[in-house]
């Protein structure tokens, strides 16, 4: 969908046009579901988040000022809905025994290894590996590594300490790399 078409549909959505809304939904839903799924344990929760997000999108479409792409605006709403979901569902607080990370917990991803993973590991498989992480690790990993938030910002968003965000990220990375490597070992 090109930008002109998007702008035309957004204009129609602002007039509450059902067809335009459906076109935008159909065009962006697969992408948004993939984003949402990274934060969830199962597809059903991911679909609930996307549903909530699209309700917000269409209710607030008048606030979309065409700054940045429509896709990135919707994606931001999806991530915010996932964060709302976190606050609704959060019942467990993970305490880190120590805010200091042991030497053996800092795992490294080598350049050659990265190249191999890029070729061999599908986004779908990687999504599943991320969804297997404990919930708090999963959120911190997504927000830090993919959405680009700082640990200070994540602390505020998830209402956890900045240092907890850091240690959660280190441990999430360790677990994810271990799982990625385990798959790699099976493959070769």
């Amino acid at each position: 969908m090109n930008k002109e078409e998007q702008d035309r549909l957004v204009k129609a959505c602002k007039k509450n046009n059902r067809d335009a809304m459906e076109k935008i939904y159909n065009a962006f839903m697969p992408r948004m579901l993939a984003v949402s799924f990274r934060y969830c344990k199962n597809q059903s929760d991911a679909e609930d988040i996307v549903q909530d997000a699209f309700i917000k999108v269409f209710k607030n479409i008048k606030k979309y000022k065409h700054k940045g792409t429509l896709g990135s605006w919707i994606e931001r709403i999806v991530v915010n809905s996932a964060i709302d979901h976190w606050h609704k569902m959060k019942k467990t607080v993970l305490i880190d025994n120590s805010e200091l990370i042991e030497e053996n917990e800092a795992q490294e991803l080598g350049e050659i290894e990265e190249d191999e993973f890029s070729k061999q590991l599908s986004a779908e498989k990687l999504r599943t590996l991320i969804s297997d992480l404990p919930e708090q690790y999963r959120y911190v990993l997504n927000l830090y590594a993919i959405e680009g938030y700082s640990h200070k910002e994540i602390g505020k968003i998830l209402k956890i300490k900045e240092s907890t965000s850091r240690s959660n990220y280190t441990r999430a990375r360790k677990k994810l790399l271990e799982n990625m490597r385990a798959i790699g070992i099976e493959k070769y």
């Binding site: 996307v50 467990t92 305490i95 890029s118 779908e124 790399l177």
Partner: protein, 365 residues
């Protein structure tokens, strides 16, 4: 270390840049309906405001009339006490059933009756408070118009604590408890049926009235309950319900199939139809005092304990979440449940202020 971080970030960002997924359901109709609900609210807000202003003017005229003519002093007081409530709610929006109408006299009468029921509420509160720690809340939104009373209760986090359970009395004297992230929109008319639209988890103690059926509207079903005690959870995945006492008739929204619930029975209703559940869902444990698990992850159990009892539980090791437990808890409190759980899973339980701390090795996946 820094380079390593950048490599993983770069890898994940590249991998997920154009990632897409096929959906297993088409939710557009639900989304569009939800968007329209808001638009309807907005368009009818004007009329609600006009209606409330007219009611206020009527109130002022009535006051003026009684001040200048000999009349019932009781009515003057009751009407005047209601006027500030109308003013406070002028900016609140909620749904009313526009198809039901009645005369302005009836509206005034309802207002007066509502003031009386407030007094009843006040006096009953003390009785209930002796049994459990109870706070009775005012509805967040309340509209009294054309003989229709509509009230809305939306539970925020501050509500559903077992230490301060919020019992809300509906205008028909039924009592509800609205759990976290849940919402009830109740509509009643003088002549018509009583309607409660439900999102999330709600417990009802319904005031029996044969001439005014009480109907709950879930996402996938409608339930007509004849006194007394009923638990329901409704969300996009389905409706879950347990009849604790009384009788209930359930109608599936799409198939129109009708089922009858007997006390102690539980149903799950979704787009595919009805399922009779062997046990009451754990999310109703707050009311049923029963939790039942078969190979359930600790993650799920802790979620239930937080949901039902606001238990604050800290795990010192994420691997504990991987442990599985089978067993049942009946009429048990949080310390008893956690003691049994941690003993079975060879974990240690301690308490720091009001937080239960669980330590131990945990389990591998």
């Amino acid at each position: 270390m820094k380079e390593d971080k950048d490599l993983l970030k770069e890898f994940l960002q590249t991998k997920f840049k154009d990632d897409v997924m096929e959906s297993s359901r088409d939710s557009f109709d639900l989304i569009f309906d939800a968007v329209q609900e808001k638009s309807d609210d907005k368009s009818s807000f004007y009329w609600y405001t006009v209606g409330v202003i007219v009611l206020m003017l009527l109130g002022v005229v009535t006051l003026y009339y009684f001040k200048n003519h000999k009349g019932s002093k009781t009515n003057i007081e009751e009407t005047s006490t209601e006027i500030p409530i109308q003013k406070e709610n002028i900016n609140l929006v909620t749904n009313t059933n526009d198809t039901i109408s009645s005369t302005p006299e009836e509206s005034n009468k309802i207002i007066t009756e509502y003031a009386t029921s407030e007094d009843v509420k006040g006096s009953k509160k003390d009785t209930i408070a002796k049994q459990i720690d109870v706070t009775t809340l005012e509805p967040e939104d309340e509209i009294i118009e054309k003989g229709v009373i509509t009230v809305t209760y939306t539970a925020s986090d501050k509500y559903a604590s077992t230490e301060h359970t919020k019992y809300n009395k509906l205008p028909d004297s039924s009592t509800i408890v609205v759990r976290k992230n849940s919402n009830v929109n109740f509509t009643a008319t003088k002549q018509g049926y009583r309607r409660a639209d439900i999102t999330g988890t709600v417990f009802f103690n319904i005031k029996n009235n044969d001439s005014k059926p009480f109907i709950m509207f879930g996402k996938y079903s409608k339930i007509q309950v004849t006194g007394n005690s009923f638990a329901i959870h409704s969300d996009t995945k389905g409706d879950l319900m347990t009849l604790i006492d009384g009788t209930a008739k359930v109608v599936h929204n799409s198939t129109k199939e009708v089922r009858t619930l007997i006390p102690g029975e539980s149903f799950s209703v979704d787009q595919n139809g009805f399922s009779l559940l062997e046990k009451s869902p754990n999310r109703f444990a707050w009311k049923t005092k029963k939790l039942y698990y078969q190979d359930a992850l600790v993650d799920e159990i802790i979620h239930d304990l937080g949901e039902n009892y606001d238990a604050k539980i800290w795990l010192k090791n994420a691997n504990i979440l991987n442990c599985k437990y089978s067993g049942a808890f009946e009429n048990a409190n949080i310390p008893q449940i956690l003691k049994k759980l941690t003993t079975a899973l060879k974990l240690q339980l301690t308490k720091e202020e009001d937080i239960f701390v669980i330590t131990g090795k945990g389990c591998n996946k």
